[in-house]
Symmetry: C2
Subunit: 264 residues, 2 copies
């Protein structure tokens, strides 16, 4: 069994290169201590059900795997990078099952490619293989991207309001501001500044409209919050009580680790 962490994207700017390997994003993501656990199976099972999951299927096809059983702590399509984490954990499960002796970054590159091809993510996998709060300074697949990261001891609260399609938004919105937020964040990499830049991105792209009341509720109680990119969800620091009004908050820690081998 392998674990791959879920992640929250705070802000980003997509980069569409000539190849899948050159496609990715600038931005900052937070790796969580919740995520997905995957083990070998005959079919593709996600949280107990057979589902159509093209991103994971892409990995299975590439490695000639029959199936995988995935148990996820968050639903798909809510901005927690579950498609990337599922692709990633699947790659490790099949590589081990089939004794492929493929190294970490090659498996990670494959999961990234699966995301790019299926337009389910552009930077989640890069974040998820490192752990911590990950700044993607140069976009691309995991073996080519440049990152820096921070191991901050934080508990965050997240609340999911509903799903949002990454694919539609990636094609319509303008995200150039993400690169500016990244630059400002790296100039002063602190928790406070991470929230400031995250909210700035959410507001200036116009994406935060539907969750602005949630963010403001947290702020009026003295906490900090922003929108999970890309999900109809909010992440907050010191916001548990305020979030309760909008759904059931889930408390998460920041994971120090990327993919983990379990049960050995």
């Amino acid at each position: 069994m392998f674990f791959a962490p879920a992640s929250i994207t705070c802000f980003f700017t997509p980069e569409f290169g000539k190849s899948h390997a050159e496609t990715g994003s600038y931005g900052v993501g937070i790796t969580l201590d919740k995520g997905v656990r995957a083990k070998p199976a005959d079919r593709l099972i996600f949280n107990g059900e057979e589902i159509d999951f093209p991103t994971v299927k892409y990995v299975l096809n590439a490695l000639k795997g029959k199936g995988v059983e995935i148990e996820a702590d968050f639903p798909l399509g809510c901005g927690f990078g579950i498609s990337g984490a599922s692709a990633l954990a699947t790659a490790f499960v099949v590589a081990e099952e089939k004794h492929l002796s493929m190294p970490y970054y090659r498996l990670a590159d494959l999961a990234h490619e699966a995301e790019v091809v299926n337009r389910t993510g552009l930077g989640d996998v890069v974040c998820q293989i490192h752990g911590g709060v990950v700044a993607r300074l140069k976009p691309g697949c995991p073996s080519k991207a440049d990152v820096e990261k921070f191991l901050w001891k934080l508990k965050l609260d997240v609340v999911v309001i509903g799903p949002l399609s990454t694919r539609d938004i990636l094609e319509s919105a303008k995200f150039s501001i993400g690169k500016e937020c990244l630059k400002e964040f790296m100039r002063k990499p602190s928790v406070e500044n991470l929230f400031i830049q995250s909210k700035r991105f959410a507001v200036e792209t116009g994406l935060a409209e539907d969750v602005m009341d949630v963010i403001e509720a947290v702020e009026s109680c003295g906490g900090m919050a922003s929108m999970v990119m890309l999900g109809n969800a909010v992440f907050a620091l010191n916001g548990y009580e305020a979030l309760k009004e909008f759904g059931k908050p889930i408390r998460v820690g920041i994971s120090s680790c990327g993919v983990k081998a379990l049960d050995f």
Copy 2:
């Protein structure tokens, strides 16, 4: 509190560059699930005692830290990279304590520099910040080194026979064979081949002389073993029973992770 994993070097070739950042080693190391835990303190304490520990002192001086309390699972000087792990964990502890907002690779580079200056290690820190079985394909400090890694599910047994001075050996022996072992390992990256190349290195450098009987005892029981570089110690797969004759074996797992933030 921060955790930094201990590590075993299987084989290596030192590279002395023009700067600390260009100095490091080629080779393969195994990151362990045991290591050091460090927390803020007024003095430098290692396993309950005030000791002279120049590598850690170097980090404290660089970050203007007063002290650190380190609890280590292995003794110093036996080949488990405890000096590197201690320097690494210390850097994270002081950076957090003093709100330095320094990122992961900068702290790791500092720990590497502390090792290079004090000649206590050339590649341990690079291995320890990644987790897994780490191949150092291009030497240098953590932010410049090129690595690939493997998340293998293995339990190993190690037995410590006595200390060995890294400093003396680094200056006397010839290690060019390490690069060849690395090339052969990457050609076929498997557990078996890792032991084959490790033993080849240990034998061809002449270092294994004193522990050859231990390695052979493991092999005659159907296991695989080689010498911990650089320590008067042996690591083995399926070797617990055979090792018991030579000391008290310690069972270790491979860590998937690098430095971890604890207690939050």
